[in-house]
């Protein structure tokens, strides 16, 4: 009971911070905060696949590209409402994820890493190749919005997808994800179909990435193949690992880390933002191999035990 109350208090505090933050920060900072929400959605999705189902993916930037281009093409060429494109992007990315996931479930470890790596590289190349449809290297421009508008849209979407992820993971499906991660054989013997489960995890996590891609394009007001390169996929994986695999709480930290680190590094030194970023990534993974969520577990668990013992 006490734990439930504490959880509710933390959640209420988080909601209050997100709602009240726009009052305190500039429009430009709100644009950056919208970027945090974008990464949050994508990393929650990647965490469903890598953290909860145990399948590494270096290719989630590709699903973001699919979602982002869905939004760009529908608004620019077909005059769709921006909000209506987000669910469509989610569904299309879901289908793409299922198509990639079905063969990918045959692979594991280094082989799966390479196969998903390939997806991350192939999608931007295809965007360049079929330029009459996607605008090629010059990209597609969409209407520009204020930082505040983007903040509201991005964080609302993030909240919806967080609840979705929580609902998926707490139920039967979430349990079968974890079973497949912990032991394939044990999962089969308790009646779980691992191929179906892994494919579904792939599709769901791709759907999250697709929605994030939509937000990504909205924030940039621009869809361009270079934006969806390998670096984006790598940043998502870094975010998931820094936040902590197998936890939804840590993802916020992971999202802030990947969105704000380049900005901070630029502020510390004009010459060497890449050096600082590299060092920061190495240092964080070295000190917190289980990510921020692991730290939280280590600090909070003994604390709550102490409280329970005292009362």
């Amino acid at each position: 009971m006490r734990q439930r109350l504490a959880l509710a208090a933390v959640l209420a505090a988080a909601v209050a911070v997100v709602v009240l933050l726009p009052l305190a920060i500039s429009d430009y900072r709100q644009l950056q905060a919208a970027g945090v929400a974008t990464f949050f959605v994508a990393i929650v999705g990647l965490n469903i696949l890598t953290g909860y189902t145990g399948q590494i993916s270096l290719g989630h930037g590709a699903f973001m590209a699919i979602g982002g281009y869905t939004t760009a093409i529908l608004t620019h060429d077909h005059g769709w409402n921006l909000f209506a494109t987000i669910p469509v992007a989610t569904v299309i990315a879901f289908v793409a994820g299922a198509l990639v996931g079905l063969p990918a479930t045959r692979l594991s470890g280094a082989y799966l890493a390479l196969a998903t790596f390939a997806v991350a590289l192939v999608v931007p190349a295809l965007v360049r190749k079929f330029d009459h449809f996607t605008g090629g290297n010059s990209g597609i421009l969409i209407p520009f919005h204020s930082g505040h508008w983007l903040y509201v849209v991005s964080w609302t979407t993030a909240a919806i997808f967080l609840v979705l992820a929580w609902l998926i993971l707490r139920g039967r499906l979430g349990r079968s994800f974890r079973a497949v991660r912990d032991s394939d054989v044990a999962a089969v013997s308790s009646g779980i179909n691992p191929t179906l489960t892994k494919t579904l995890a792939f599709a769901i996590s791709a759907a999250f990435a697709g929605a994030a891609g939509s937000l990504f394009v909205l924030s940039a007001a621009y869809a361009q193949p270079d934006e969806f390169g390998l670096l984006l996929s790598i940043r998502l994986l870094i975010g998931a690992a820094v936040g902590g695999l197998g936890s939804l709480w840590g993802v916020v930290v992971g999202a802030v880390f990947v969105q704000m680190l380049p900005v901070w590094a630029q502020g510390i030194s004009k010459q060497a933002p890449a050096v600082i970023q590299g060092l920061a990534v190495i240092l964080v993974m070295f000190l917190l191999p289980t990510g921020f969520a692991g730290l939280l577990r280590r600090v909070v668990a003994p604390l709550s035990n102490r409280i329970r013992n005292a009362s």
């Binding site: 820094v242 060497a272 917190l288």
Partner: protein
């Protein structure tokens, strides 16, 4: 280390003799290449050029395999390590050292760097665990993903450091071999390509002899395959792992020095090459050194021939086509051409 090796015996590798269909297929491919080269001059030229780039993919792939076998890490920073050592060679030449002097010195520096890198990592992990234990903090390992992220961090760090120290501008890099072609019966082979093939294959052969016929090589193989058992018979496992990283760094440096004259010196020069090397290593089976070399050569030749004869494959489609073919191979044979199934006891 103990905990990791204690779980090893549960994992039994059943080694099957090389699968006949794969060997037959490769033999058939070789015959086709030779016949094609005899029939068409252009085909011969493109095959040799493909073998040269393939040799570079192969050496870098072999470096990845060495590190994977020694420490079960996929080293995403391998290409950037190669790039960085190539910059060191450039710097040495700027200071007035001759090409081959700089070449040998660079290989030495690369070896020392690779060894130092692993020694530093092992030492740092040891100090961290010891400190945390002292402070009463329970530390859970982050597993493979944490290590992968650290190598990605190294990739970002090295690329940034090179751009910072030497500026991101493109620099030309001298070649060890003359650029003029050599003519054999109407076919013009580039001496540089032939030299690259020679150096790449030469280093692979030297490495093979080292692993097969020297005591240290045997100890390294033992340390990689059965670390716990190797320690029982007196192999210094950590030293052997560090040696593996050192050799991998040397192979990477050779690949960097050979490719730099063609693609020029710049911090991002190895990005795509690393991806091809990664593809070659996986194509051959990530644990198989021979597979890495064959995979690299095959990839180089196929890419070059496709680029020449199939006009749909424009430069932006080279990478997707290569990776698409790789995916097909993986779907038919999920452990690569030379990989064998790992049977796990539950």
């Amino acid at each position: 280390m103990e905990a990791a090796s204690a779980t090893r015996p549960a994992l039994r590798i059943l080694r099957a003799p090389a699968p006949p269909p794969v060997v037959l297929l490769l033999a058939a491919a070789c015959v086709a290449l030779v016949i094609g080269s005899l029939v068409s001059d252009q085909f011969a030229e493109q095959t040799v050029a493909g073998l040269a780039t393939g040799g570079i993919f192969g050496s870098l792939a072999l470096a990845l395999v060495l590190i994977y076998r020694a420490t079960e890490v996929i080293n995403f920073a391998q290409g950037q390590m190669a790039m960085f050592t190539t910059y060191i060679a450039w710097q040495l030449m700027q200071w007035g050292i001759g090409y081959w002097g700089a070449f040998v010195l660079t290989l030495g520096i690369a070896f020392a760097g690779g060894v130092a890198l692993l020694a530093f990592a092992l030492g740092a992990v040891f100090v961290r665990d010891w400190t945390f234990e002292r402070m009463g903090i329970k530390q859970a390992g982050g597993g493979v993903i944490a290590v992968v992220i650290v190598t990605i961090g190294m990739l970002i760090l090295l690329e940034g450091a090179a751009a910072w120290i030497w500026s991101p501008e493109i620099k030309s890099f001298p070649s060890a071999f003359p650029t003029r072609p050599i003519r054999v019966g109407g076919v013009a082979f580039s001496i540089q390509d032939l030299g690259t093939i020679g150096v790449a294959l030469g280093s692979v052969v030297v490495l093979w002899v080292f692993f097969q016929f020297t005591k240290v090589g045997l100890a390294m193989r033992a340390a990689a395959l059965r670390p716990f058992a190797a320690r029982l018979v007196g192999v210094r496992v950590n030293a052997m792992l560090a040696l593996g990283w050192g050799l991998a760094a040397v192979l990477g440096a050779i690949a960097g020095l050979m490719i730099a004259p063609t693609i020029f010196l710049q911090p991002t020069m190895m990005d795509t090459i690393l991806i091809y090397a990664f593809a070659a290593a996986v194509l051959g089976g990530i644990e198989s050194p021979a597979g890495a070399v064959v995979g690299g050569l095959a990839l180089g030749v196929v890419l070059n021939l496709l680029g020449t004869y199939v006009h749909f494959v424009t430069s932006e489609l080279r990478l997707p086509v290569a990776l698409g073919m790789l995916l097909i191979v993986l779907l038919i044979k999920p452990t690569g051409l030379f990989g064998h199934r790992v049977v796990r006891k539950v």
